[in-house]
């Protein structure tokens, strides 16, 4: 993914390392190569999965390598959202009871995370990966995070979320109960 300024081997590995930590310890924030949202998509997406994004640069870079299969927001395996616009995260794929892992992964590009999330929404988290309880602040409207929480209502079906700032990521897997505090 040199078109995106990322090393195809080591930057994606570092991104995965950050993602794996973020996903297994919800509420924690981890450094990844910049720009983080592009790095996450480049780490996860190829022709075997479908992608929904309005990011021209990303589309061009993936398409160049034959790795882009596009799908509408409601059908894509991986959804990349720079600014939340006209689609609803509740319409994203949630997988089936026999294969819940078919549920979508939504990558939100956000301005700030955690400590520096001024004016963001703070979430209280508990459950797998969280030692007791913890909080995570995300620069997204409360309505958006409530909609995300709604996708977890029939666990194990659901949507997993990744939040990416310029160079850091955090994640909210569907297994983690959350509430806006």
């Amino acid at each position: 993914m040199r078109a995106l300024g990322l090393d195809p081997v080591h930057d994606t590995r570092r991104t995965f390392d950050g993602l794996l930590e973020a996903m297994s310890r919800p509420g924690t924030v981890h450094a990844v190569p910049a720009p983080a949202d592009h790095a996450v998509v480049a780490t996860l997406v190829d022709h075997e999965v479908t992608l929904a994004t309005d990011d021209e640069t990303l589309r061009a870079a993936l398409s160049e390598q034959g790795r882009l299969t596009r799908a509408p927001y409601g059908e894509a395996d991986i959804v990349h959202a720079r600014e939340h616009t006209d689609w609803d995260v509740r319409d994203c794929k949630r997988g089936s009871l026999t294969e819940p892992s078919d549920g979508a992964t939504v990558v939100y590009r956000v301005e700030t995370l955690d400590d520096d999330a001024d004016g963001g929404t703070t979430l209280g988290l508990s459950g797998p990966g969280v030692d007791g309880t913890t909080t995570l602040s995300v620069a997204l409207p409360e309505a958006e995070l409530s909609a995300l929480a709604a996708t977890h209502s029939d666990y194990p079906r659901g949507v997993d979320a990744i939040f990416a700032t310029e160079d850091r990521v955090a994640a909210l897997p569907r297994s983690v109960p959350m509430e806006v505090v």
Partner: protein, 368 residues
Amino acid sequence: MNDLPTQRSRERVTMTEHTTTDDVLPDEGTPVATDSVDAALESLDSDGLEGYNYAYLDEHTKREVRRSVLKAVAIPGHQVPYASRPMPLARGWGTGGIQASLSILGPEDTFKVIDQGADESINAANIRRLAENTADVPTTTDTTEADLIQSRHRIPEEVLTDEQRLVLQVPITDALRTVDPSDAANRRRHAHKNYGKMWVHLYENVVEYGEIKISSRYPTMVAGRYLMDPSPIPRWDVPKLDHADHLTVLAAGREARLYAVPPHTEVEPLAFDDRQFTVERFPEQACHACGSTDTYLVEVSEEATEDGDNAFETRYACNDASFCAKRRKNPDLPKDHHLEEAVDWGPGTPDAPTDDAGTPVEQGGAGE
């Protein structure tokens, strides 16, 4: 179809031409171009690694494994399918674990591989060497120094921390396979959290033996939702997964599935209120090498040297070879010696009250 005979006859002609050229030396035979031989010899010098991607797997394979690992972490205990590529050893010899490890490893990670507790078994040594050669990682046999530990059928005796990751090799992914060979039926059971058939199996165990006699692959609930096969680790190791500080990824190459237990996740072995989960018991036994009584021991049958009547004698030895070596130098070394705070880790941690690993059931029988 018509091309075939023509091609063959043309080949025959060329062959005949060859033998009649002037290159034939009367005594020393036909000189042969040795380009291919030279290339083969050169590739030996470079360990045959030229042309391979970093960490052996191509990026496409790694992306696929990584996607599945993230989904597995997001749905603790659920078996996520993945492609399971051909590896340079047969499926069933740790290929799932290798694919997971190589997708995670980076040059700053230190890698440890154990096979049934031993670092030096040929399988472990070869997997370590593959990672060393292709992923350019330092390797270790010291549990406390490793960032990533790939293991076959054991969790180390020393406490794993939140900076470590554990990859377990898995031969059979589904705990329900024991009670129903049908994978389709078992997937439906997992979908609806219908584990009645396993409860009946455990009940029958109690009726027959007075306690639950499952020596390894003990059926375990993860985060209160999925029944998981924790791989053939002994019962001794199962409690270590409960609210652990480390991430555990379980990967099966042959069955092409992987699943995970995130840190701080509830892992509960199935049991009844009046027949509780018990770990293996080694009454009156200690490791013959280091004297440990709080580690998982295995029986070692050795040829007796002096006593002529008994051809063999049975001794007990620590299964975790690297910790045993440390204990031989320092017999009082606790399992959490590398941590600032005392951690309750598995059965019989020294600073915990040692009531024979907290086993409430009184029936005898030391393992199987």
